[in-house]
């Protein structure tokens, strides 16, 4: 089988799969190289499933809004898989003055970008979600936010891309990138050399080392985030939840289980045994956090916990688009733990960018060349 394609995508996560899908839809010949044994094995399968606009940096907000307007509503039909997309709003919860300040500030910025998000008091919060405790005194409410199932969405993009002829190879670790005659050309793995006109690096945190092989350094760091899931419970609510302090976030899935993510405060110092491992401190901490907001969930049983590396950008938003120093090279990384919700939009827009050089949504503020010294 040929190792040449129009476009080589490094990383078989939701970003890589979505971009491959939208490229293949336009007739491109694409090869996707996934370093692990499984498609969607990084943050794509380890996040809390938020599809939200509120709380986002104005630089990436347009992408989020674009996706929610144009792609998410029909994604399940398009991918022939139940993405479990729910658009029932996002409550970002607060318990005190300080929280109110953080939330108000975020809401104002979002409104400036045209997003419907407003501040509500505790009573209104409990009208929307009666299970929330009295401790919640304030929240921002964005009715057009929601959540989806990251597992089926990622694998749905994979399935459809594969059906359209995209070649996926897992267990294929990239050693380095190689330019030929002033342009990106080769992707060299442990066993093979792949050649493409264009190369997209969408390999999560590994993007940094891969881009490093061609002299591109994306300022990002690694942070371990953890999630847990409960047994199926009777249906309670449909909103996506977050908090001002970001101590937990989550939702009830279609299956009935609750998926919550959170942290213990030590995520930057976690150990690794080859795969992201959960810390013994985190899940109990997340549970305590949840119970303060949802006393009714105290008896819900946790069936599983997991961890995932997030690729934290130096300035909190992704690196997206062309890397102009290396013609033909593109990057989509440093999603900082909130890439899933914008993944369809990222995939679609990147595909357009790579094929036509233009996008419908302005992503110029996410360009790699934005990183400058502070003075």
């Amino acid at each position: 089988m040929s190792n040449c394609a129009d476009i080589i995508i490094i990383g078989g996560g939701v970003i890589g799969c979505a971009t491959a899908y939208y490229l293949a839809k336009q007739g491109s010949h694409v090869i996707v190289l996934e370093g692990s044994d499984h498609i969607g094995n990084g943050g794509s399968s380890r996040n809390g499933g938020g599809v939200r606009q509120s709380g986002r940096d104005p630089r990436e907000l347009p992408l989020a809004m674009y996706g929610i307007r144009n792609l998410w509503p029909t994604l399940s039909e398009e991918l022939e898989v139940d993405c479990e997309y729910h658009q029932d709003g996002n409550l970002r919860l607060g318990k005190n003055e300080k929280h109110a300040e953080i939330l108000t500030n975020l809401a104002e910025k979002a409104r400036a970008c045209g997003l419907d998000v407003r501040m509500i008091d505790g009573e209104e919060v409990r009208r929307i979600n009666p299970y929330l405790s009295e401790e919640v005194t304030v929240a921002s409410w964005c009715p057009t936010d929601g959540h989806a199932n990251p597992l089926t969405t990622t694998l749905g993009f994979y399935k459809m891309a594969r059906r359209l002829g995209v070649r996926f190879i897992s267990g294929e670790r990239v050693i380095r990138l190689q330019m030929i005659k002033g342009k990106i050309r080769q992707v060299i793995t442990e066993q093979t050399v792949y050649e493409g006109e264009k190369v997209l690096v969408a390999a999560g945190f590994h993007s940094r080392e891969i881009l490093g092989t061609i002299g591109i350094d994306v300022p990002m760091s690694q942070s371990l985030l953890e999630c847990l899931v409960t047994e199926a419970e009777p249906h309670m609510f449909d909103q996506m939840l977050g908090t001002a302090e970001a101590d937990f976030y989550g939702h009830q899935t279609k299956h009935g289980s609750f998926v919550f993510g959170g942290s213990s405060g030590y995520e930057a110092f976690n150990k690794d045994n080859g795969t992201p491992v959960t810390s013994s401190l985190t899940a109990p901490c997340i549970c305590r956090g949840i119970m303060k907001y949802f006393p009714d969930l105290a008896d819900a049983k946790i069936v599983r916990t997991w961890a995932g590396w997030s690729d934290k950008s130096a300035d909190g938003v992704p690196v997206l688009g062309s890397i102009d120093e290396v013609p033909g090279l593109y990057a989509a990384c440093a999603f900082t733990g909130h890439g899933f919700g914008i993944s369809p939009a990222v995939g679609e827009q990147l595909a357009k960018l790579m094929l036509t050089g233009t996008t419908d949504v302005d992503i110029s503020t996410l360009h790699y060349n934005r990183f400058k010294a502070k003075i």
Binding site: E231, A232, E233, P234, G256, D299, K301
Partner: protein, 108 residues
């Protein structure tokens, strides 16, 4: 119709706790304190512990050691209680589980 073993050729008389009364779907039944709920139900001839969420199919004891979680029921109002490893207590309310509820599907 399963029954209790009265005398066993090797084990002799099987030691049991105090006799207690519990409620199975509102009906008073008797069992021994501390034995698994599932054993008490089996002794009373109860086979179906729950009906599944998607296909509404009956399920009962399968592994009897708390692994398979097929024998879960609603106990004292809490769903998904593994009856094979949960000790019986006086006055316990044990109900057939439908999906994750004690309400039959047509009433959910």
């Amino acid at each position: 119709m399963a029954t209790r073993i009265k005398t066993h050729p090797i084990l002799g008389e099987i030691e049991k706790g105090r006799k207690v009364t519990f409620l199975y779907n509102g009906k008073e039944l008797q069992g021994y304190e501390g034995e698994p709920i599932a054993a008490a139900l089996k002794a009373e001839g109860v086979m179906v512990h729950r009906y599944t969420k998607k296909q509404h199919k009956p399920r009962g004891i399968f592994c009897a050691i708390g692994r398979c979680t097929d024998c879960v029921m609603v106990v004292d109002g809490k769903p998904n209680v593994r009856t094979c490893v949960t000790p019986l207590k006086e006055g316990m309310r044990i109900e057939t589980q439908y999906g994750v509820s004690n309400q039959p599907f047509e009433e959910q």
